[in-house]
Subunit: 231 residues, 2 copies
């Protein structure tokens, strides 16, 4: 199956590598290929710059956002929150039409210092804004409540913990669940929160996620919803 | 020890009963005693009206918000989010001064239908608004991420799950932790999120809490933060 991933950051790279290992045909999309291949900055965890990373993985393709959108039967938005809508516009409405788009982004506004507030929240969400801007795309919000390594390798945190998903299209969610299963997520630990307005609730978990990160001084943790007997 | 609890709803009653069972001297405060004792509405879980409940528990005292503030060495705000600041103003700044106030409320706005949005969030919180309005009070935000029964009886949901707390005063948090321990919370499951601005993060967990409630059709669940090894 062909996958298009928007974004060359930690999440884009980690998911691309995992999907490639799972024998998907992966293309990463970026705004400006030349700029991406010129940039010499390493990643936040001390990894090499993207240009080195992609050179070491010659079978993972690199293209523009539009190239990746055309390539992918299944698409993943791994661009920053602020970059998401512009990136999807660059990808092109007609290239996105009818496809499943997994949105793992969070509406974090890093322009105001740390911790970043959300630039959309409470009565709206980034997931909903994408769905509204691209009504013909089947948006599924998932994986946004954890760090990139854990998304692709849930076993990195031992025991039971959850991945949330939501979206308006049931078949699209079924496709996404299949992919999550291949990543190692047990089906019983996937929590379907219903339609895309559920994105409000998972995006608003970022503030506590960020606070926990600050406290623990590392991002290898996740939430588990523990359920007791009804009253 | 003398406790003053503001609010006659599920949370106020449940905590009053638990604290009384733990041999605290408990007074519940309400805006209008006569009205509270006249109201014949039962509670949302099919329990009796407050007037019946309090008659069956003659050793739990009932007073005005000010009476409860004067009575309590330790205070608990269990009023609705919208009622919180008005209730505390009625309680009286001078009666609250210097005391520890446990705030378990959430800024839910029920005036706009279900699910309720938050009337303060993201860059501010109800916990912070209380602290700002009453700077001489030692506000500790806790217990607001679960239903009332679970607050007072964590064993109702089996296994490990967390209670968050935050506040500006370390000694006040130590007092609150002692009380939580008596409720049955293990110390290792209490997560101190730092100063009162942590209230933003736990209040913003309400949207996912409400969504999970809708999905499960009952409120007997809680969050557990599962931590793996650092990268």
């Amino acid at each position: 199956m062909k996958i298009g991933i928007f974004g060359t950051g930690m999440a884009g790279k980690t998911l691309a590598e995992k999907l490639f290992a799972l024998e998907y045909d992966v293309m990463i999309g970026t705004r400006d290929i030349a700029k991406t291949l010129y940039n010499a900055d390493g990643d936040i965890y001390g990894g090499p710059p993207f240009k080195t990373w992609i050179r070491e993985r010659p079978d993972i393709k690199l293209g523009t956002f539009a190239d990746a959108a055309i390539h992918g039967e299944l698409l993943i938005n791994a661009v920053s929150g602020t970059g998401t809508i512009p990136a999807l516009k660059k990808a092109g409405k007609s290239n996105l039409r009818g496809k499943v788009l997994i949105d793992i982004s969070n509406p974090l506004d890093f322009s105001k210092g740390m911790p970043p507030p959300l630039f959309v929240s409470n009565t709206d969400s980034l997931g909903e804004q994408i769905q509204q801007e691209f009504p013909k795309v089947k948006v599924v919000k998932t994986l946004n409540t954890m760090n990139a390594y854990l998304m692709a390798n849930p076993g990195l945190v031992p025991g039971d913990h959850n991945v949330f998903l939501c979206g308006n299209d049931e078949d699209a969610k079924a496709v996404v669940k299949k992919m999550l299963k291949k990543f190692g997520w047990k089906e019983k630990l996937m929590i379907d929160l219903g339609d895309i307005s559920g994105a409000r609730s998972t995006e608003q978990m970022l503030p506590v996620w960020l606070r926990l990160w600050g406290k623990l001084q590392h991002p290898m943790f996740n939430f588990n919803v523990v359920v007791g007997r009804p009253l």
